[in-house]
Structures are given as C-alpha cells and as structure tokens.
C-alpha cells in the first residue's frame, strides 16, 4: 500500500494528476481551499500503487508519495 500526502492549499484543481492516474483514484473534491480552488482528493488510498505519475505530472508540486 502506498500513501499520498496532498498539499491541499497549493493545489489549483487543474486535474492533470487525475488524468494520468492508472487507477483513476483522483478527483476534485467539493471543498474549496483558501485560494478558491477545488483541491484534488484520493478516493481509495488502499488502491494506490505508489507509481507517482500524479506527482510527476503536477505543475505545482502538490503531491508527496510514500510506499
């Protein structure tokens, strides 16, 4: 099992990370961060394989991946 840490406040909700997740685990949340964006959230942490595609795609270095 892998662990994702999302820096919610720096996420701009562009969704580019979600598009590259091979497990389709990422989607924008309904919450709004202090800069007015819907940050990304992971639906099922247990399904994450820790490939870090999401983190490498993110323009804002929001995601940390541990395994």
């Amino acid at each position: 099992m892998a662990k994702l840490t999302i820096a919610v406040e720096t996420c701009k909700g562009c969704g580019l990370c979600a598009d590259v997740c091979p497990r389709h685990l990422l989607a924008l949340s309904k919450e709004i961060n202090s800069r007015g964006y819907h940050p990304i959230a992971i639906s099922d942490q247990d399904q994450c394989i820790g490939c870090a595609f999401c983190a490498r795609m993110c323009p804002d270095a929001v995601i940390k991946v541990e395994k």
Partner: protein, 245 residues
Amino acid sequence: MAVVYEKTKLLTDKPLHYCPGCTHGIIHRLVAEAIDELGIQERTIGIAPVGCAVFAYDYFNCDMMEAAHGRAPAVATGCKRVNPKNIVFTYQGDGDLASIGAAEITHAATRGENITVIFVNNAIYGMTGGQMAPTTLPGQVTTTSPYGRDPKLCGYPIRVSEMLATLDGPAYISRVSVHDVKHILDAKKSIRKAFETQIAGKGFSLVEVLSACPTNWGMTPQEALKWLEQNMIPQYPLGVKKEVE
C-alpha cells in the same frame, strides 16, 4: 515507508503564481530537481526572464538574478566569466528569447558561452495577454493574429533549436516536451544533460521545452496538453539537435 516522490528542496515554499495547469510549473520542478541531484545548489545562479516566469527568482532555492527582457544570456555570460566555477542558467520564454532577445541568445550560442539555457516555448506571449510570438504556429489564433497566423503576412515560426544547432559554438541542444509523464521524464534527463555539459566545461547548452499556456490558448489544461502534442510537436520535432562529445 520510503518516499517515492516529494517536492525538491531546490524549490522554495512560495506557491507558484502560474495559472492552473500551466506547465511552467513542471519545468521549474525539473530544473530544480536537476540542480538538486547534481549537488550544485551552492554554486548555481539562475537568471530570470521577463514573461510569465518573471518571478522565477522567488521559486528557486539558489542564487537568482532578474534580467531585462531578452537579456538573460548576456547577464549569464557575465556571471559565468567573472567566476567560471559558477553554474549559470537562464530561464526564458519564446517572446523573451526569440523576439527581443534573439541577438543575445544567438551570440551567446555562437561564442560557445559555457551556460545552460532553459527555453520555454509556448508559442505565445503569455504574460502580456496572448500576442503572437515568433514561435506561434501558422493558423494559430492569438490576440494579434485573430484570424490565425498568416505566414505570408507575418512570416513563419522560428525553430530556435535547429537554427542554433547550425552554429559551431553550442555543445548540447535538444527539444523536449512535458505533455505527459513519459515526456516529463525525458525532459528531466535532457535538462540534467545540459547542466552536466556545463559542469564538464564543454560549452553552451540549451533545452527547448514545449510548454502549454491554457489561459491564452483559450483551452482547459487537458485540451492544451493535447493541442501541444498534436500541433506543436509536428512543427517542433523533439530530440537532440546537437551534441559535442
């Protein structure tokens, strides 16, 4: 648990001001990671451009300077020559490098100046509101080519990497893209290679990175990456254009 991936310490904690989905952010990260991995943080000096990346000096955790529009290669030349142990890079957009700074980049390249240039080609003037750049594609709509760029009127786009590769001075020139994870990994390798070229004292290195400007292209970040892949890459073929052993 081991860390598979985290933000490099070569980027500061300051949130990037770029638009959502702007790939300037990816390119910043790749440059920062390369500096970190090569262990050259303490002797690296970056030169920021005028353009959307004008605040780059706030984002890199190494010494940074700001140059007048297009003049980054001239400033970098000074930083390098005054102390050749410095590792000096410029970070420049296509308006900055290929319009107003066309002379500076050409002469730095032909002198074989031992600096590294990160050239962000997004086929538009991003910062000023989406005007046509020398790299704008034929037919591409911008605020100053509202009916699409007409080469008969405005000339053809400049392939900077190929043009500079005809000179004797440069040691390493390549073009990469950041529209998907595989290409991001390739781009990182190329950027590392450019810094290694400078560290080895081989001379001028430049990496042209095809980049998306969703805001001024009038697209979602997803559409912009697709547009880059389908339209920019045929006009600007990827690959190493020059490499001196």
